[in-house]
Subunit: 201 residues, 4 copies
């Protein structure tokens, strides 16, 4: 077991993970060679395999961590719970938290955006599952909103997909442009578009 917290080991592990994240982000899963990773992490070849079973294992580990972090920032929006803040506030908070987390780590963001094709079926599936979960959450939120008469009738599945895409599109823009925008305003704009559209009236 490596998980048992020897601090030096933990540090090393983190070094590897970070190196791998950068290399994956720059070159994609396939283009990322163990060579590049260990060079960036300043470790020997064998050492890598002391901490991770395989290339796909690091990738999985990075993904798992990211998805778990993201999941902890996103929940079902409570509507009946009288103690909770109003739905729009909850929504805003979650979107903001998500964006902040992803934007903070450019490599991770790139990795998540492009992590399509891994030969590691599991990783692909895990990522797909994550996005599916997010869409479900959105979809249910939309459904509830419709039932409560807050939202206009629509095809929730489709709109959920559209909105998820919207978020990805915005993240891509933020990540590709090195210029730093105030995330707060970005979220405001995004939500306005999603909720009110772009027409004047």
């Amino acid at each position: 077991m490596v998980s048992t917290a020897d601090p030096a080991k933990q540090e090393r592990r983190r070094r590897i993970v970070n190196a791998a994240k950068e290399v994956f982000a720059e070159a994609g899963y396939h283009g990322a060679s163990i060579n590049a990773i260990i060079e960036r992490a300043q470790i020997a070849r064998g050492t890598f395999y002391l901490y991770f079973e395989s290339k796909s294992a690091v990738f999985d580990s990075i993904l798992e961590q990211a998805l778990s972090d993201l999941r902890s920032r996103i929940h079902r929006i409570a509507v009946d719970d009288s103690g909770a803040p109003p739905p729009q506030v909850q929504l805003r908070a979650q979107v903001l938290a998500t964006l902040e987390y992803v934007i903070r780590d450019r490599s991770l963001a790139l990795l998540l955006l492009s992590a399509g094709h891994t030969p590691d079926a599991e990783a692909t599936e895990r990522l797909d599952q994550f996005f599916a979960d997010m869409r479900d959450l959105l979809q249910r939120a939309l459904q509830t909103g419709m039932e409560l008469g807050l939202l206009r009738p629509c095809q929730p599945e489709l709109v959920a997909a559209a909105m998820l895409g919207m978020i990805r599109g915005v993240i891509e823009l933020l990540v590709r442009q090195s210029s730093v925008r105030p995330i707060d305003e970005v979220v405001t704009e995004m939500l306005t578009v999603a909720l009110r559209g772009v027409l004047v009236a």
Copy 2:
């Protein structure tokens, strides 16, 4: 020169392109082995290289064709030309044409959605350029709409990115679900969300 016609050759070339498209879609650029492509195309190894210089050449060819087809379906929306149909109609037509083209060829859609990391820098650049162009078009349309007082004030760059993402998100949904939806309704819903948002009022 034979490059023009010979129906048998054209047919063969198409077989290879289709096989490649499927394999690329399923396995990504790297995961796609020449072996897999020629097996699916039912041809010998050497035959592949009779039609394409290299693996990246087929990929490029597929990409080029797709982007050119798409570009021919998408143009700047004319607003002052009194002979032209109203902007919303033009917009709808273009989105519809795009979706129809992409949805028709599932493999191509998957390929376009995930064609992030190719070692072929040119291909990656070409794809990036395409999406950048699309965003520009959207951005300018938004700007014009704002200037004409049709759209509410917004950050056009951000909104353009969001909408492009929306389209990608919807395409992904359509492509992943094998269920066939009436594209017409999909477009209507998408445009409604983009233009009017989801709120009731």
Copy 3:
């Protein structure tokens, strides 16, 4: 049988042989591709195999022709036959004939000089045999000369090898330099060196 003299066929065969000779000379046996040969000969791929069984077959054919031509120019020098010209004259005539034949066809010369490594064991052997024969001839001439008291005592095998090398060296010079030298003088110089050496006395 192709040997039966249809003149058009003969002409075509010659075209192929010449093309092959040039390509072999320029690129070596391995570097010579059937492609290059048929392009230069202006024929289709299949046509090549109508005239020659394989790549090595053309090579063999070229070699065989050249060696046979050369052999017909080189004979044992007659010393007792009172009707024959003096040995030195015979020697000179043969060396001259050899050089003239080889120099006339630059490609052939290059091919003969470098035709070391063919995967075709037979061709290699044939070439080796030719050079061995030439050396034998020289060696016996030397031996005879020694026995007749015309030449100083020496190790005939060694000296034969040296003189064969001398000839090859000179041919190489003539072929590599595009400048045209009077072959007659070349032969004179060569024979003088071989017979009298370079010292003054």
Copy 4:
């Protein structure tokens, strides 16, 4: 940096070089497959590429080493320097050193003799340059000898080519015959022929 010592690595490198030298000598550059080399060297495919960048790299390395070794054995002959041994002695020493070096390593000798057509243009050029240099050296020695009245008037370029060929011819004989001759006597004979020719007087 490890490039300097590590005896085990050096040994392995030598094993590869030797295997390659043999295979190149037997089969020529093209005929030599990496497969054959690694089999003879008893190493795995990847190991080869740990020591050499490519097939042509080993070839280059072998060539470079040989040419450098040979160059260090051959110099301009000093004639005015009163402290130097007489020219004939210097000449003899150099020819002897050259032959000894080349004969000792049969594979190397074969490789040098036949290293005509490499697709590696650089290697070919390097070899050509070497022989050109040697010819230059000989040519200048002849010129000097003529000017000093030691040698009879001749065309130095031609004679230099002849003598270089002579050396190659003799090496070829020594290398092809497995029988071992006393190199000393070989050199004596060769020089005698070159200097005094074969005639009795």
